[in-house]
């Protein structure tokens, strides 16, 4: 197992966001987290990346307990990529500088090498002509693709994607989803998403989160097509009503 979360608990004041959550992810596996807003998807991703501390339980990466307080969070984050719903590109840097910042400053790679690797990636995702543009000159879909490249150039063991398409209009969603689908196989991914069609296409396993736990998980066809739990069925029915499946 690459990632295991065991009995993870996280509270914000009185509200319990993760309530004894268990989840494990194999190498090269793609796991889609689905569930209503507030079910704990984003919080789980932030906890795995140690941006937020947990209140109880254990998270291991490559068998190492990363929730041990003696561990240096910076070392763990170097192995995990995180892509945000609102892109969070650095507005004062060009797209190229955004992408080469971590390789040169964190991983100590030579600037030329980092640059040519970044340009290769940008070409691969159709952004070669945007390398020297500032993020505010890019469309939302282009910004999100650049943000995904920024996470990928560090060759993370694990890529976390936090509702990466929910800030995009429908026409731009497609280009980001295509890019993620192309990454499947090389990269281990955990993605929180509201796009059920995408989860079905790209995920090896879908996990339905409810009230801070994984209520049901399995192959996409089973969880999305023939769920066992009444709560999952209810959630999917609402999604179908809203026309998102």
């Amino acid at each position: 197992m690459l990632l295991t979360c065991t009995d993870v608990r996280k509270t914000f004041g009185a509200s319990v966001v993760l309530d004894g959550l268990d989840l494990s992810v194999d190498e090269h596996e793609v796991v889609a987290l689905i569930g209503a807003s507030g079910s704990g998807k984003s919080t789980l991703l932030r906890c795995v990346n140690l941006l937020t501390g947990i209140d109880d339980g254990t998270i291991t990466l490559d068998g190492e307990d990363i929730t041990d307080p003696k561990i240096n969070p910076d070392d763990v984050r170097q192995k995990i990529g995180l892509v945000f719903q609102s892109y969070n590109l650095f507005p004062h840097m060009t797209v190229l500088d955004n992408i080469t910042l971590a390789p040169t400053r964190v991983h100590g790679r030579p600037v030329d090498e980092a640059k040519s690797q970044a340009l290769e990636w940008l070409a691969r995702v159709g952004l070669a002509d945007k390398a020297s543009s500032y993020p505010d000159r890019l469309s939302g879909g282009q910004q999100q693709r650049a943000a995904i490249v920024r996470a990928l150039v560090n060759s993370p063991r694990l890529l976390l994607l936090d509702e990466v398409t929910s800030a995009l209009d429908p026409e731009l969603v497609g280009e980001v989803l295509t890019m993620i689908r192309d990454l499947k196989g090389d990269t281990t991914m955990v993605l929180a998403t509201h796009e059920m069609g995408f989860a079905r296409q790209v995920a090896d396993r879908v996990a339905f989160l409810d009230k801070g736990r994984v209520l049901e998980q399995g192959p996409p066809e089973q969880v999305l097509g023939d769920p066992v739990e009444p709560r999952t069925r209810q959630f999917l029915a609402r999604i179908i009503e809203a026309g998102r499946l």
């Binding site: 910076d74 984050r77 920024r150």
Partner: protein
């Protein structure tokens, strides 16, 4: 393109002509109202019963000519003080602002000292700080005590550093936490995140207020004259005392305004540019 070249419609041509007439009218009206107000003010001042005496003691050509070189020479000291104090105060302000953001129990004393500093020196009148430094420090009779000019400059730097630190801190706090989250998620340390992500954005954002404080600093360096060095104000004061005529003060005042104009111009330009960037953002 195969279509005919665009030609404005008659309606649009009418609009353009109307706007042009309006623009000409606006300029004429503005010129007329300025002339009327200027004349009224001029008449009001020059027809005052004491105008002749005021003119003689504040706007006397011979006095102006006699003391202009000394005042200009003094202004050279002000200008050097301004450059030195501005750079030093900006550096000090940035340092204090960063110290105040440090987290963790180890840094408690550093944070406490930085906070105490910004609280006390923003409250303490600059004049008192100058007196304390220029007259208090030499009183210690330590070896290698710097000149009064340097001590007065240090007083200005320490006082302005406290204000600028708060401006920098406001800038640092205005950078959205998601930017730090993005930097940390890439594996950057806290220091790297500050250096490469937070500070560049913070400084850009607060450039206009920082420059505005520099304009204020520009005239406050004149307070150095209280400690003794002959700057433009002290030179004017000497002239005033010599001939019992206030004209040198007016000359010094005009020179200070001229000195400030470029800096004010730059401030306005930077502010405008910042506002445009903000509006152009997503």
């Amino acid at each position: 393109m195969t279509t005919d070249a665009y030609r404005p419609s008659d309606v649009q041509l009418g609009r353009t002509a109307f706007r042009k007439r309006q623009a000409v009218r606006s300029v004429l009206v503005a010129a007329l109202s300025t002339a009327v107000l200027g004349t009224l003010l001029g008449v009001a001042v020059t027809s005052a019963p004491g105008w002749d005496r005021v003119k003689q003691s504040f706007f006397d050509f011979h006095n102006a000519k006699e003391f202009f070189p000394q005042i200009l020479e003094g202004l050279w000291l002000n200008l050097r003080m301004l450059v030195f104090c501005a750079i030093a105060a900006l550096a000090l302000g940035l340092l204090i602002a960063v110290l105040r953001t440090l987290r963790g129990p180890v840094f408690f004393p550093v944070r406490a000292i930085a906070t105490l500093y910004t609280y006390s020196f923003r409250g303490l009148p600059l004049i008192i700080v100058i007196y304390l430094f220029a007259f208090g420090v030499p009183g210690l009779r330590l070896q290698g005590t710097p000149s009064v000019t340097v001590l007065g400059g240090a007083a200005i730097v320490i006082t302005y550093g406290a204000y600028l630190a708060e401006v920098f801190r406001a800038g640092i706090e205005s950078v959205h936490p998601s930017q730090i989250a993005a930097a940390r998620s890439l594996g950057l340390t806290y220091r790297q995140s500050m250096r490469h992500v937070v500070l560049p954005q913070a400084v850009r954002r607060v450039a206009p207020p920082l420059l505005n404080d520099t304009v204020a600093l520009q005239k406050d360096v004149g307070l150095i004259s209280l400690a003794g060095p002959i700057d433009a104000i002290r030179a004017a004061q000497i002239g005033v005392a010599q001939n019992a005529n206030f004209t040198p003060y007016v000359i010094a005042g005009v020179l200070f305004v001229l000195l400030a104009l470029p800096l004010i111009g730059v401030t306005d330009w930077v502010t405008l540019r910042a506002a445009r960037r903000q509006n152009a953002g997503t």
